[in-house]
């Protein structure tokens, strides 16, 4: 099974694997993974232990696969892993910052370890630290950083040498909601504005559907699904309707819509309308009907939008299929 995600701009995908397998004794971390990754942001999603970190380590040449092949940026992982490590950045999941060094010094050093000269490394470090949002605190030892600042410093060192591809392993781990939003926006910018391909992992599906162009779903070392994020989200014909008022208004609307032949159920403050029957499916007839019903009841229509599926549904489907 070969699945291609991403807008393949060149003849070669950014990452392509063929039958990639990694077994630790009886533990099967990855099984026969064949997948292609293109430019932009690609989400790699799966529960803990699904094989996400193992895949990244194999692609970096830090682990040897039990079987199968892979290419990163056109280089074979077994023959040219050094060349690959020159062109990619890696932000590990775990803590990896020495506490007695400042972020500024550390990122400069890491840029030099990727082959940048002394002055170029200083310039790049200042640039990326600004991009990740570490300001004055960059001159303080990293031991005193909050989790959010540590994650930024980790991200900065991954970008220090201007890689063509970055592996971000759980970049939102341990962040509060505001910091999480910042980090996700940054990930999106790296993929779209900086022009650096991103492979980002998370066990939180909701995060990845916000930022990634493509999603690969791993489950127990197996490929569950790989496709554009849009395809995950746009297969439902359901509608969400919200009116001004409380639950009473919501229920009045729902009951009225039901009388007109639509299947409705409450969801939070909104009414979820199942895909309309054939008679109402054509040319937005259902939309018109909802508008008219709301007007008849004298209710202020606040929201009428297509109901997006969530990536969770893919897991549920995958679970029932397996």
């Amino acid at each position: 099974m070969t699945v291609v995600t991403g807008e393949l701009t060149g003849p070669l995908p950014v990452i392509s694997t063929a039958g990639l397998t990694k077994h630790y004794g009886t533990v099967h971390a990855l099984t026969d993974l064949t997948v292609d990754v293109g430019d932009g942001v690609t989400g790699l999603v799966g529960a803990n232990g699904a094989g996400k970190s193992t895949l990244i380590k194999i692609l970096l040449g830090l682990l040897e696969p039990t079987a199968g092949h892979a290419h990163v940026l056109g280089h074979d992982i077994e023959e040219h892993s050094q060349e690959i490590r020159r062109l990619v950045g890696y932000m590990p999941e775990h803590d990896c910052l020495p506490p007695d060094v400042s972020a500024s010094d550390f990122v400069v050093h890491m840029a030099r370890m990727s082959g940048l000269g002394a002055s170029a490394a200083r310039e790049r470090a200042a640039d990326v630290l600004r991009h990740v949002g570490l300001d004055e605190e960059r001159y303080r030892p990293m031991g005193g950083y909050s989790t959010g600042m540590k994650q930024r410093a980790k991200l900065a060192q991954a970008l220090a040498h201007d890689p063509r591809l970055v592996f971000l392993d759980e970049p939102t781990n341990g962040l509060d909601p505001a910091a999480r939003t910042d980090m996700l926006r940054l990930v999106q910018r790296i993929g779209n504005d900086f022009g650096i391909a991103v492979l980002v992992t998370s066990h939180l599906l909701g995060e990845l559907e916000q930022v990634s162009d493509h999603v690969i779903v791993l489950d127990g070392g197996h490929l569950l699904r790989s496709s554009a994020t849009g395809e995950f989200l746009e297969r439902t014909g359901s509608l969400l309707v919200e009116v001004v008022g409380t639950e009473t208004e919501r229920d009045r609307l729902g009951e009225a819509l039901a009388r007109h032949g639509l299947t409705c159920r409450p969801r939070g403050t909104m009414v979820a309308v199942d895909p309309p029957p054939p008679g109402l499916a054509e040319g937005g007839a259902a939309h018109d009907l909802i508008r008219d019903v709301a007007a008849e009841l004298g209710l202020g229509l606040m929201r009428l939008q297509p109901d997006r599926r969530h990536l969770e549904d893919v897991f549920l489907e995958g679970g029932t299929r397996a």
Binding site: L60, M113, S114
Partner: protein, 298 residues
Amino acid sequence: MPDQAATPGRPGVIHDLGYRHFEGVREGTATIARTLFVTGLRHAYGLGRSGKSKVMPFVLLAMSLLPAAIVVGVVVLTGLGSLPVSYADYTNQTQLLVSLFAASQAPVLFSRDLRHRSIVLYLARPLSSPVFALMRWLSLTVAMFVFTAVPTVLLFAGAMLAGLDKSDQTSAVLKALTLQVLLAAMLAGVSGLISSVSLRRGFAVVGSVMALIVLTGVVTVMQNIAYYDGDSESVSVGVGLLSPWSLHNGLGNAWDAGIDTPAPVDGAWVPAYAIVALLLVAGCLLGLVARFRKVASR
């Protein structure tokens, strides 16, 4: 979660100033390895690190220089016909300071990256784990060599000032420096390997002290017992194979570099000492490479 896009650009958090790509030259592996070596060498003396971390190496260096300075003063002022201590024996006499330097500075180069797991960031970059381990060892070896060579060079400068025979002194100092290279390689290997396994700084220091200071003391005592009480030269010399310092001293004795050992090292013992010393260095290097490789794959 779905409406996070509705909070655009919280001010002052992540600045949007445009991203610039790096178009400049990217150095090859050799240059990166050299940078790592130089950084490691500087860090061994606390340079480029906090002020506090400079104290230990420089206090030890000053302490090991002080006797040499006194010797030089005495020789120059009194016009002695020879140095009261040979170059190689001076290193031996200050061995406690040399071993302490190895024990205290090896964790800086071998434990920190492993304990804080920044090793992963190094190994996700072009240098492979064997090259990384080798460069770390080389940094410590050169740092150790500098530590022993500085007093030696000071002594030599004093000898020259006092007008001692130039060719005699030159050959003696070159012998001492050669022995110091081997000594530095052994001490860096042993203390580096210990530090890379025991990641807590305290344990690493204690482990190195055990291996370099306590073991050497035990070996010296056993050598003396075997020679004076056991009346066995070969046992006394054989026991000397067991510690880096007794290897250094034995080779210095065999090479006539001015170090006394309980029993003279001669005959087939000389190649045996040399081979064991080289095997010790090679073994430590292999151990270090295996250790870093294992950590890299985790």
